[in-house]
């Protein structure tokens, strides 16, 4: 895999992934989602609440609602990959605890994974430290998940 020249023989799926990633990161920059104080303002329901993120989420969710209907009707993507099936509505302890932990971290620093990527090059040492800590968390997450399931299923 390492011998494969990234731009020389890029597959269509890899070019699309690069374009989608670039558009995603640019959208996060333009929308203000990489501004940690703005994100914390959105979560500050008992202070100077900033509703901007509702516009960001609305702008992304409304078109995607129709895209999902199209994708699920077609069943496969243009490159022939099956559209991911609807996940079972399973709410196990790891899901609930993980969602709450993520929210706590999001509120604490004002960054979630997408903006952490998009602002990496311009976020200074603080952004780099957050990124390193986030990746470290992802490294230990399977261990935490195993520990949680051993505590909750017996």
């Amino acid at each position: 895999m390492a011998a494969k020249p990234f731009f020389g023989h890029a597959e269509p799926r890899e070019i699309i992934a690069f374009v989608a990633g670039g558009l995603f990161g640019s959208g996060l920059l333009v929308s203000g989602m990489i501004d940690t104080k703005k994100v914390q303002g959105w979560l500050d329901f008992f202070g100077a609440w900033d509703p901007t993120l509702a516009f960001v989420l609305g702008g992304a969710v409304v078109p995607m609602f129709f895209v999902w209907r199209l994708a699920e009707a077609r069943k496969v993507s243009l490159l022939g990959t099956p559209i991911p099936p609807r996940p079972a509505p399973k709410f196990d302890p790891a899901f609930i605890i993980g969602s709450l932990m993520f929210g706590a971290g999001w509120g604490l620093a004002g960054l979630c994974p997408g903006p952490a990527l998009a602002s990496f090059a311009i976020g200074g040492w603080g952004g780099a430290l957050f990124f390193l800590a986030m990746v470290s968390g992802m490294v230990v997450a399977p261990t935490v998940a195993g520990w949680l399931s051993s505590r909750t299923t017996s």
């Binding site: 558009l23 959208g27 960001v56 895209v67 999902w68 929210g103 004002g110 990527l117 976020g123």
Partner: protein, 142 residues
């Protein structure tokens, strides 16, 4: 916060939705930042490694090119390293336990009306709001 911020929020949101639509309709993948990165970190996404790397490279390398055309160049992140490390660990562990973040559960899950996407979003908004309330209004730390 100004009404012009809402317009930029909407424009950026449409770009994020466009990216999610492209990734789903062409590649057949759900655009979730924590899943794309996390699958590389823990090795579960090895079979789609180059696709993931291409997405991450785009997300990290393209936004800085826009900075000369855009006024915001500062994330205004806290300078307290303990808060940054704690927050990063919580986001990394939490998104992997929950199997999604603001893009996967938020944008893609809500728009699919997926119970897990809606449920996770309600929970992380709750976690974030309580955290901001405690650390800003009670402790005055952020």
């Amino acid at each position: 916060m100004m009404p012009v911020d809402w317009i930029w929020g909407l424009v950026g949101g449409l770009m994020i939705g466009g990216a999610a639509a492209l990734y789903l309709l062409v590649n057949g993948r759900i655009m979730g930042a924590s899943g794309i990165l996390g699958g590389l970190v823990d090795g579960t996404g090895r079979s789609s490694m180059v696709e993931r790397l291409a997405f991450l490279f785009g997300a990290m390398a393209v936004p800085p090119l826009l900075v000369p055309f855009y006024t915001l160049v500062d994330t205004r992140i806290t300078s307290n390293p303990a808060i940054i490390i704690a927050a990063g660990l919580l986001v990394g562990i939490g998104t992997r336990l929950a199997n999604g973040c603001t893009s996967g559960h938020g944008v893609c899950g809500i728009s699919r009306l997926a119970p897990r996407g809606l449920g996770s979003t309600a929970l992380y908004l709750l976690g974030g709001a309580v955290t901001v309330y405690i650390f800003r209004h009670i402790l005055g730390a952020i």
